[in-house]
Every structure is written in C-alpha cells, then in structure tokens.
Point group: C2
Chain length 303, copies 2
C-alpha cells in the first residue's frame, strides 16, 4: 500500500459548482476561470454546453469561453449531453469532453429522462464525433456510490457499465458521488468491483462533502492508487437535495491535506485561497470550505 | 492492517463544545446531557470544575451535575485543572477525571500560565487524590498535532510527555488536536512516535474538523488500532482562533461513517440526530454538522 507522490486535481467550480449556485455574471465566470488558471491547477472543467432551459446557470457558456484567455499547460474541459453539445464544445476548441450517465436507473430517468441502457447507446456516435476531431471523451458515472432516490448503488452495476464503456472505447471514466453518499467502505467496494474490468482506463473520483466524508474517501482512494480527483474552489455548489448542505469537496481542503502528507498537486495554496475568497464574494454567501474560514494549518496566531 | 470492529466514542459536547459557545441556561445543559445519555453513547464528558472567571460557560457545573439523572452504563467524566477541581469532581461522584497539559510550551503558557514541566509536576498529587477515591485520571495532551502559536508539534516532544505520564501512573491519555491542525500524516507521525513509550496506556484521539480532515484522521487512527475518539454532537464548539470555523468533529458524522463501514459504536443515529437538532436550537445558530444538515445517506428523497 504505497500512496502516490502526486495527484492530478481537476477544478470543477466553474461548471459543477456554479451550476448549483444562483446565477452569476458572465464576467465573474471569466474571471474565476482565469484566476484558477493562475494557481497551478492543471485541469479545469470550464463550462457545459447544455440547453439553457435545463441549466440556466450555463446559458452563457459560449460567451464565457469566447472571453476566457486560456493558459498554456492547463487542460480545459466541457460537459456536453448530446451531439449538439459536443459540436459546440469542439467548435470552441475543447479537446476534452465529458458526458454523463447515472449508475442508478431512477436517477438517470429523473436527470436525463431515459434508461441507463438508452444513455449508454448514445455514446458511440458522440465518441466517433469527438475522436474525429482529436478530442477525448470522459464518461462521468453519476450516483456511483449511492442514489438519493434508490439508496445504495450496487458496485456490480457500476462494473457492468464500465465493461460496456471499455468496449465502446471511451477515453476516461469518472465516478461521481453526486449527493455525498460515499464512505470509505463504499469507495473500497466500488474500486474492488471495477478494477477487474476497467483495465487501463484512467479513473477519476468526484466526491461531495455533504456528510463530511470527502477527505476520508480521497484518503481511501489514494491507498488504491487513484491519482485523479475533482474538487471545487471554496466548495462551490451546494446539494440540490438538502438546502444549506455542502456539495463538492473544496479544492483548498484537498490541496491542504495532500501537501501536508507530502503529496504534490502543483497548486499554490495561497493563490488558491485568494480565488476561494473571490468565489465567495462572487456568490455572495459563506462557502463551506474550512481552510478558507480558518486558513491553512501553517497560518499562526499571535500570542 | 485490520480495522477494529467497534469504537468507543466519548461525547464532549456538554463540556468542550459548550465551553466555546455563548453561555446557555443550566436547564438546557441538563437536558442535553440527559438526552445524550439516551442515545446509546456510553461515555459523556459532562462538565468541568474550573474557576468561573476562567470559563464562565461552566460556572454552573455544580448545579448542572446535581440535577442530571445519570443513566446506568454510561461513564460520565469531568475536567478538573487542580486539586480544588478534583475535589469538586470527586464530591459530585465522578470517577473519571481529566486534567490537561499542552505539548506546546507556548500554548501551555498561554492556556495555563506555567511551563509544561510545571504542569507535569502538578499531576502526581492529583493522581494520588483521585486514586484514593477510586477515581481514574486521564491526561489530555493538548496541541498534540500542532499549536496555533508555535506551529508543528514535534511528535518526539509528545512522546517525552507520555513517558513521564506512564512513570506517574496516569490511567489514560488523550491526544488533542486543539485547533484542527492534524492531518493523516501528523496522525501517523504521532502514533509512530508514542507507540514505543505508551505501552498498555489506553489512548484516545480528539480531533477538530477545522480544516475538514477529522474523519480522514480518524480513518488513519483506526488503521493503527485506535478505538477511542472524542466527538461533539452537532459539532458544538467553534474555534477560538478563527471566528465562524468548525471545532469538534460532529458525533453524528463519526457515527454515520463508522456504521457504514461496519464499525459498531452502540449509538442510535436517529436519536443522536434529534439531540443534534436540540443542540442547534439551544445555541441558536447553525451547527457545522453535515449529517445534521443533509440527513444520513440512508434518508432518501422522493422522486
């Protein structure tokens, strides 16, 4: 059990975070992405190209991305639910695209109005479309650790989805703890189940801190050799099922813990905390990040 | 690396929690202790017998404990800083007493106005006093993982204190993460350092969730075979060094994670959540507990 020496964090505040907050100005979104790009973060989920009626918070995605000045060395990605979204992402120059399916039938029906099998059947043409443009596709498997409607997710169901995704030739997969139902036990059970079928497929874990377990879950995944995690600056994005509850784990809490453990992320924590402060002012409410509130452990008090 | 099958939680909300909140009525404190006693928790730190000028929140400790109807099978403890406090605790029938020293000279000077060596020298007569009354004494080593004034705590300094405490014949020791500076790395370093000197001494860990790491720290300690942890219902008690920041890890977050991992605590989570709700109303502000806000992972939403 050797923990990795470095971890690749993907910042999802501008997309997954802001999607669950009250709408903010286009200019603030551009600033947020550009400020994050200067922290040492090497991956940023910037926007999603979805129908504005479905997610009004992302209605200005085209405008946001037109105005962002991308930083060399940072990988930007966009979420796209269908061929039209993939076309928009490709036209804007994105070469990393995310699509979504839920492990839970009930959640997939509620979220996407189709069955899991129907969602999976839509991926091959999207893959073809993206690959033809030299873009890669990641499939986010939502509710991988539990579903707010159906309860526990059977790791075997997730493994079955992964088998199909490997056959389809997807480039990466992410396991989403959509409503913060993961615990170290669920992480172990999932990783044990998918390991035999995921082969060389790069795996990323996406935890919400809704019930306080996010960093314990990341610690567990590190022991399995997982090196890719999502996080959102400040802990942007609440939980749509529980008003006032936390959503995405805060990027600075992840960076803070990993750095003290001697695990590199490439991120400048002080710069990141400045962006977390900006994000908090942008959404106009207190964000749940403990490191934002208390400062890092190295920040001393006067006697 | 086998994790324990059960864990012994000590609830510290009524003492360590309320000590850092605005003062509440005596009757509410009595109710809190009695409600906690009915949740399956087997250990409760009930009060401290300190000078009312030092900690006005505990000025009514005698009255509180006179009115509490203790529940058979629950171990109640009291904190006492000196011979007078130990006498009060013994007179009230307490048979578990806690005394405090900081691993950090700066913190001990600031908190107790004496050196670490002076604090340690005061323990033998207190031990004698308690043991003569068939009471046991636990030494809480504050700032074991870091000090807000001095920074990192050297695990060797903590080990040196433990060696002296073993020689003195103390009954138990607790390592306090007084301002939430612990990370999994610090937990490993501390436990590695104290293991050779702590011998058969029972060890308890006390984490604050100030920077989000409390459950990751507990997970790490479980892998070292530690089975005793402090926690405070609702996450009562903030951080005196960072207004608005979290203090004690919430008991229900610990119970919630451990139960899902198949580790028994004896606690009825639903009953505990009712007490967390009561505690929140008692202090009249939102407590930081995620499980209180979002409910346990088993609480499903309607479609």
């Amino acid at each position: 059990m050797t923990r990795p020496k470095s971890v690749s964090l993907r910042e999802v505040g501008p997309r997954d975070g802001l999607q669950s907050e009250a709408p903010v100005e286009t200019d603030a979104k551009v600033q947020l992405i550009e400020k994050l790009s200067a922290t040492g973060l090497r991956r940023i989920e910037a926007v999603s190209f979805v129908h504005p009626k479905a997610i009004p918070q992302m209605a200005d995605a085209d405008e946001v991305w037109k105005r962002v000045r991308p930083v060399e060395g940072v990988r930007y990605s966009a979420l796209a639910p269908n061929a039209r979204g993939v076309s928009r992402a490709l036209d804007h120059g994105f070469r990393e695209i995310e699509v979504v399916v839920s492990a839970s039938e009930k959640h997939n029906q509620s979220n996407l109005r189709r069955s899991v099998a129907e969602s999976l059947a839509e991926f091959p043409p999207l893959l073809q479309q993206a690959h033809a443009a030299n873009a890669s596709v990641e499939v986010i498997v939502a509710t991988s650790f539990g579903c707010p409607y159906a309860g526990d997710t059977d790791p075997a169901a997730v493994a079955s989805i992964i088998e199909q995704l490997v056959d389809q030739g997807v480039d990466r997969v992410a396991f989403g703890d959509t409503t913060g139902m993961a615990t170290p036990y669920r992480v172990q059970a999932l990783l044990d189940a998918v390991k035999p079928v995921s082969k060389e497929l790069p795996v990323l874990l996406h935890f919400h801190n809704t019930r306080g377990t996010a960093l314990a879950n990341i610690l567990t995944a590190l022991d399995y050799g997982v090196t890719e995690f999502d996080a959102a600056v400040g802990g942007l994005g609440g939980c749509p099922y529980a008003p006032g509850a936390s959503g995405n784990v805060a990027t600075e809490e992840v960076v803070h813990m990993l750095h003290d453990m001697g695990i590199d992320t490439g991120v400048d924590l002080d710069k990141l905390l400045e962006v977390a402060q900006f994000a908090q002012e942008m959404v106009g409410k207190e964000l749940p990040s403990g490191v934002l509130k208390a400062g890092p452990r190295t920040r001393l008090s006067a006697l």
